[in-house]
Point group: none
Chain length 415, copies 2
Amino acid sequence: MRAEIISIGTELLLGETVDTNSNYLAGQLPLLGIDLYWISQVGDNQLRLVEVLKRAWQRSELLLTTGGLGPTEDDLTRESIAEMFGEDMSVSLVLKQEIEEFFSQRGLEMPLSNLKQATLIPSASAIHNIRGTAPGWWVEKDSHILIAMPGPPREMQHMWELEVQPKLRQRFAGTVILSRTVKTFGLTEAAVDEMVTPLLSGTNPTLAIYAKADGIYLRLTTKAQSQIDAEETLARGEASVRSILGEYIWGTDHDTLEGVVGQLLVEKGLSLAVVESCTGGLLAATITDVPGSSIYFKGGIVAYSNEAKVACGVAPGLIANCGAISLEVARAMAQAARAYLKADIGVSTTGVAGPNGVENKAAGMLYIAVDDGHTSRVIQGNYPGNRPQIKRRATTAALFELKKLLTAVNDNRKT
Amino acid sequence: MRAEIISIGTELLLGETVDTNSNYLAGQLPLLGIDLYWISQVGDNQLRLVEVLKRAWQRSELLLTTGGLGPTEDDLTRESIAEMFGEDMSVSLVLKQEIEEFFSQRGLEMPLSNLKQATLIPSASAIHNIRGTAPGWWVEKDSHILIAMPGPPREMQHMWELEVQPKLRQRFAGTVILSRTVKTFGLTEAAVDEMVTPLLSGTNPTLAIYAKADGIYLRLTTKAQSQIDAEETLARGEASVRSILGEYIWGTDHDTLEGVVGQLLVEKGLSLAVVESCTGGLLAATITDVPGSSIYFKGGIVAYSNEAKVACGVAPGLIANCGAISLEVARAMAQAARAYLKADIGVSTTGVAGPNGVENKAAGMLYIAVDDGHTSRVIQGNYPGNRPQIKRRATTAALFELKKLLTAVNDNRKT
């Protein structure tokens, strides 16, 4: 089963949009044991689009396209597929009704231009799109499959997960390629590489290391005849990695640090509040990305000015004496977070988000404090990068400190 | 001059790496008046790589490749180019010496594997790489040009800027392709499409519409003999778009909504504070993404619990009577933002981030309030999507309301 991905849209050729769709799909295919040999991007031009589709149809058994299913004149994917197969497009009344309903639920009338999204060719069946007005097309012919999906990532990914992937999985049960990602924080890529050197030469599972915004990831991959074999191999590999990197590991696979922290807070029945300066709201925003976080997250203060720090309970004298970016103020902010919102645990950040220095401190210099009323811990960080990267990195570091504190609470109770 | 980009590396086909190189180069070519028709990604496989190169050589006059120039066995770009042209590779003593120097400057000996990076074919000249050990290849034959650059973005971009782009600019001085993006919020893609229908049939500039997380974008593109001609055509096109969509437009090109709002706050000398609930800190985090935002942003409260809403000044009775997700509480929160941090303008959000409903209100239902002491405005929104999307959309809507308020302040002063 050779697969090919075609991403459609002139914005990709003008450098305006990074093609994350092909990256997403490329990461999905190994899980189905499907090999991917080709990816290409093509503009909204029917001549070239048909040419790319024809070549793909010749050399690959599975074609996945994204984009060009919108309602406007430059959306030409449907027209191009119809041309390639020499079939006529006609309006499906069922699809028309669905699109009309999509609009009427939002109190709108369907614009006439959306009618073309209700079209099909005889070889195509529609793929349901609950997040937008563009149904996908599923075409099967001569033992080849073409699947056309919309371009907006949130529509495409939802369609893939709910409609396309389950159908393909049923069809192509056989070899299983499985991988597991182990996520760490607090070490450089080179340090991780050195620590796991003995594992890197292994072939089953293979091990790859890569740097992400929230730490260094290690990916174990195995290919096996059955799901059970694959899972056993991965479990063995993961145990080896854990024996080396234990304390730096915060999660696996789809875990997020904010999700892991949220889970620990729920388990311990503890509540959380934050007072953040240099992260400017990103710490609270990340914590509240977790559904149900309102159970444990009382709220936060973005104390961007000194007035705001004082308003929530930091002593003005402390800021005057030690500076707003200091170990002492970080600790006082974490304590203020607990007191102001009556939370069990307070977390704070204060530092320089950049690009310019503040109080003679360079961009990226910051303090993070965690406080649960028994333990108060402050770390100093010094992170490279631009402003959003420093904010992101500081947020990750704060969540990692919080995770360590929560794990310790766990251990204390056990003993 | 038709160009084609080929990104080389199996990691691209496994979904491990997003191909940002092609995006970067795609954005560069219009500035040279070069049309890009094709982008493709191919793995480290000589058979398929040669096939892709041959097709590109047939249909395009300029081929840009990135990747596959490393020292390891699976780096096959040089070998594949040599095979395509039927030429032999041999070691260049000059290149060998440069690579040896690269290592010796770092106190290292050149590993033997790096020797292959010193090879050339007769048709190729080397392109200097000051950031790494892989020189590029510049091949000219039969009025076609092939330029092979390394894969690491920092090496590739440096090589492009210092070596490749100036040479190409000299060669292809002449046509200029320029584009301008006009950014709107508050309308659906189909609605924008309908409103600008008369402009869509224009060929100079051409107009394309696409949906982004922060609204609907319109891209005007023109091709001209000179920079001045191109800019005049774009200015004319932009004026037409503005005459139709005026009030929905918040910026152009590289503008961000938070940047536009920040600029307006600085110009008016006004300060800002926020009290946010459903956006959970994302509104403050987005505002503070702007360098220098500490000048006008006093801070914010993430009033995720009712206690936090009360703590910053919302009357408990109001929450009890109207519900935390109500027009009245949104307005009180915006007023509390102003009062609590002594800011000129307060902005608030309250609503349901999802995935589950709250207070009998569905996910995506929310209120946004802006208040400057004279004007208090509350809008109700109803946004589809998952939790991060709803937060992002609500943040954009809040910034757009703030932008409208700030523009009105402007207009009032003028009159």
